[in-house]
């Protein structure tokens, strides 16, 4: 998929949308500028994320936008860390599937049967959470193991492996179909919520 001639290529736009999404979500001042009719210069303020972060092609569903708008109305201090969304996701997986508990536990001393039992909890819960919040589809529609010919290779979508050389079209065997996030609908935090608390401590009275 090659972007048509446009001021910005497709993935750049997606990338930009992704960045701006969080910027709007967490930066009240920025959001105010964007929402006002006389647009300022929001581009200069777009935060830089670390190299290597994969921009996921994301189409944010309407409802999320609406919630986001309301969050802005209660202004938050400017420039909070863009890690909140990641923490929300982590908290979601922990809540539904004890994900952090599982990763943080030393499993070396346990039998496979014990680990298997725990894995069912993690798998069941996280899968439900994932499916509720992220709609995924394979990047390539073919079955794994099928022969595919790629007229051109989009570096975002396809990674060539093995004897990588020459010019396209490339023909090879599909080893992994890849995943693409079609829609993402993350829970949002209410004002004043400390996203760093992935799971609350519990005290039974």
């Amino acid at each position: 998929m090659v972007p048509p001639v446009a001021p910005l290529p497709f993935f750049t736009r997606l990338w930009f949308a992704w960045v701006v999404f969080f910027k709007v979500l967490f930066d009240g001042v920025f959001a105010a500028k964007v929402s006002s009719p006389q647009l300022g210069e929001p581009t200069g303020e777009a935060p830089k994320l670390a190299e290597g972060d994969k921009p996921a092609p994301v189409v944010v569903e309407k409802v999320v936008e609406k919630i986001v708008e309301k969050v802005i109305e209660a202004p938050r201090p400017a420039g909070p860390p863009p890690t909140d969304a990641a923490l929300q996701l982590l908290a979601l997986f922990q809540r539904e599937g004890r994900f952090v508990d599982f990763l943080e536990e030393d499993v070396a001393s346990f039998s496979d049967a014990d680990i298997g039992a725990a894995a069912r909890v993690v798998h069941g819960g996280c899968r439900k959470a994932l499916r509720e919040h992220v709609k995924l589809e394979p990047v390539r529609g073919e079955e794994e193991g099928a022969k595919v010919t790629l007229p051109e290779v989009s570096p975002n979508e396809v990674k060539l492996t093995g004897n990588v050389q020459g010019k396209g079209p490339h023909t090879g065997v599909l080893r992994h179909r890849g995943w693409r996030a079609v829609t993402v609908q993350l829970p949002s935090a209410v004002a004043g919520h400390d996203a760093r608390i992935v799971a609350q401590a519990e005290v039974e009275l």
């Binding site: 346990f110 014990d114 935090a189 209410v190």
Partner: protein, 623 residues
């Protein structure tokens, strides 16, 4: 007031609420738009908002340690409605209200008094069943105003045309209380619709005009709605009236507090017993804590759905995590086999019974705890058999059922429409269909056909919106009117005999099938009310006596034919009359456009024109 722009269907369920909406087309002749579901923003965990199609009908009274339960539209809320409230029901059950709707139709409690959550600690401010429903509706209204209206007053939910669903089995007072909650929450343009009818409207809307291929004159549609907390049945007949096909709701079932949650609880209990036995065999002792029990119930639901949905699966694995952060060592596991599910759910709740089977009724213990009147017999099929038998003569005025000469022993459905999450299982649908076909076979009638299509979880909300459109346009409507006849009890003047109740005459004030927007004056039966005092009358309802006209005085009736409802009350203001005077009144009944029963006391000698007083339904619990 501005014209409504949307019709909004609200399913105010026992365990979940849902909202469907559709824009009102400017052109009445246009094809009605398909209703969409509203994603409802709600707290799903402490400080976390997520939008979901279902709003769990739970209410959590936050503790001071929880802090404010902020919503995007209210930062300082002290209570929670929705998913987080349900989750807190596991951690802090004493502060959570569940099944408020079942309390709303509980005739022996005062439903306007603050009694929920029952057994709450002292720092919890209790609320009434009416207020709980009001809070759920309030959340839906706020969510709509936040997501759809966004500050536009013309789009606010209060200004839209709202159809609110109630169980078909709700009596006049439960309906009245539901509208009371809706008005308190701020709704203005309101209509009530019975849930099984809503499910049928959803099916009709899904089919378009093609529904006439599936349902023709003479067909009798049985709607079987088994949800999370309640089972609700209705029968809708398609009748040829002067060449036009008319749908009529001819019978509704009793209110049965029996649903999917009971099934999950039973299965979880069986699995727990098994785990304890297994642990004992291995020389360990095992005791599940409350949290593990709830996890087990969730896991059991998953196992149930898997085994009832996939006919090839032999067993389903269950794993329950411990409460601490140690996951791997603390996880319990077991498996549920197909036989266990078959035995517990299919045979336990849907046993194969003949048409003469009736739900067992246990005598109530003398000292009943204040609680919900849960169904005493878990067999859904027995409740169904009882319903069809009770209403055997519902169609005797016309239709095919009466043609064979011999009086039918049961109402004979020719079509079945399923609704509710439980009925998603093909195995359970087959079991119900099989039972009904066997009963029809006993009667020498043909088999019933299942009406396919429709989303079993969301059909009620969607159907409510579809009905809202049908009311405005040309869509087909189901006629029905009141599902019961209503009576006021008049005690005979006889010398009191200890241990014997004075005989009561039931004076019919509203006939069965009384239509919306009609009213009737009750001839005969003059009642005396005392000025300045609240006067109570006994109130009765019958879902089977179809032929009693307004003013009919019934002196004796068969057991189970007429049931006593919460008493009604007239409170006569002293204006223009001396306090303590006895004023003779007659009653007038109307069914409002909203769908509630309105009783009024009309003085025989009015002091001014059109003088009348509203008779309050459902005033307080009588024991």
């Amino acid at each position: 007031m501005s014209e409504p722009r949307y019709v909004v269907g609200i399913d105010l369920g026992t365990t979940h609420c849902a909202v469907a909406y559709a824009p009102i087309p400017a052109d009445d002749a246009a094809t009605p738009p398909a209703p969409e579901m509203l994603s409802i923003p709600q707290l799903v965990a402490q400080g976390t908002i997520d939008a979901r199609e279902l709003l769990p009908s739970f209410f959590y009274v936050a503790h001071e340690s929880d802090g404010a339960q902020a919503l995007p539209w209210d930062e300082s809320r002290t209570y929670v409605v929705g998913e987080h409230a349900r989750a807190r029901g596991v951690d802090a059950p004493a502060r959570v209200i569940a099944s408020a709707k079942s309390w709303l139709c509980h005739p022996s409690v005062d439903r306007r008094s603050a009694i929920l959550p029952p057994g709450a600690p002292e720092d919890v401010e209790r609320i009434s069943p009416v207020e709980a429903s009001w809070r759920y509706l309030e959340h839906l209204i706020e969510a709509w105003d936040h997501v759809v209206a966004k500050g536009d007053p013309d789009l606010a939910l209060a200004k839209q045309s709202v159809v609110l669903t109630v169980p078909a089995s709700f009596d006049a007072s439960a309906r009245e209380l539901t509208t009371e909650a809706a008005y308190a929450a701020g709704l203005e343009d309101l209509t009530l619709l019975e849930e099984p009818q809503a499910a049928f409207y959803a099916w009709l809307a899904g089919k378009g005009d093609a529904w006439r291929k599936d349902v023709a004159a003479g067909d009798v549609v049985l709607v079987v709605d088994v949800g999370g907390g309640t089972s609700d049945f209705s029968v809708i007949a398609a009748v040829d009236k002067g060449g036009e096909l008319v749908l009529e709701r001819v019978a509704v079932g009793d209110h049965i507090l029996l649903g999917g949650d009971n099934m999950d609880m039973l299965l979880a209990h069986i699995v727990e017993q098994k785990m304890v036995a297994e642990a004992e065999e291995a020389g360990r002792t095992l005791e599940l804590d409350r949290w593990q029990r709830i996890s087990l119930q969730h896991a059991a639901r998953g196992a149930k759905e898997k085994l009832l949905g996939d006919s090839k699966a032999k067993s389903a694995q269950i794993a329950i995590a411990g409460k601490g952060s140690k996951l791997v060592g603390g996880t319990l596991r077991t498996e549920v086999t197909r036989e266990e599910v078959q035995q517990a759910i299919v045979d336990g709740f849907f046993p194969v019974v003949d048409s003469a089977a009736r739900p067992a009724v246990r005598a109530r213990a003398a000292l009943t705890q204040l609680g919900l009147p849960y169904a005493q017999d878990p067999a859904v099929t027995k409740h169904l058999a009882a319903l069809l038998a009770r209403h055997a003569d519902a169609l005797s005025a016309g239709g095919d059922a009466g043609k064979k000469g011999k009086a039918p022993k049961m109402l004979r459905p020719t079509r079945i429409l399923f609704n509710g999450g439980v009925m998603k299982s093909a195995l359970l649908r087959e079991r119900v269909t099989g039972c009904i076909d066997a009963w029809l076979g006993e009667e020498g009638a043909g088999e019933a056909r299942v009406l396919e299509g429709a989303d079993l979880d969301l059909a009620v909300a969607r159907g409510a919106a579809a009905y809202g459109l049908a009311r405005r346009g040309r869509g087909v409507r189901i006629r029905g009117g009141t599902a019961r006849a209503y009576y006021v009890g008049i005690e005979g003047a006889v010398p009191a005999v200890p241990g014997m109740e004075p005989p009561v005459t039931a004076l019919c004030v509203a006939p069965f099938g009384m239509e919306e927007g009609t009213s009737a004056d009750v001839a005969g039966g003059e009642l005396g009310v005392v000025v300045g005092e609240r006067v109570n009358f006994r109130f009765f309802g019958s879902s089977v006596r179809r032929k009693d006209a307004v003013g009919a005085a019934i002196e004796r009736w068969k057991k189970d034919e007429i049931e006593e409802l919460a008493p009604i009350e007239v409170d006569l203001p002293a204006e223009g009359r001396a306090k303590g005077d006895v004023v003779p009144v007659t009653l007038r009944s109307s069914v409002t456009e909203v769908g509630t029963l309105l009783l009024e006391a009309v003085p025989i000698q009015p002091k001014k024109k059109d003088e009348r007083w509203k008779v309050e339904l459902s005033v307080r619990g009588g024991d």
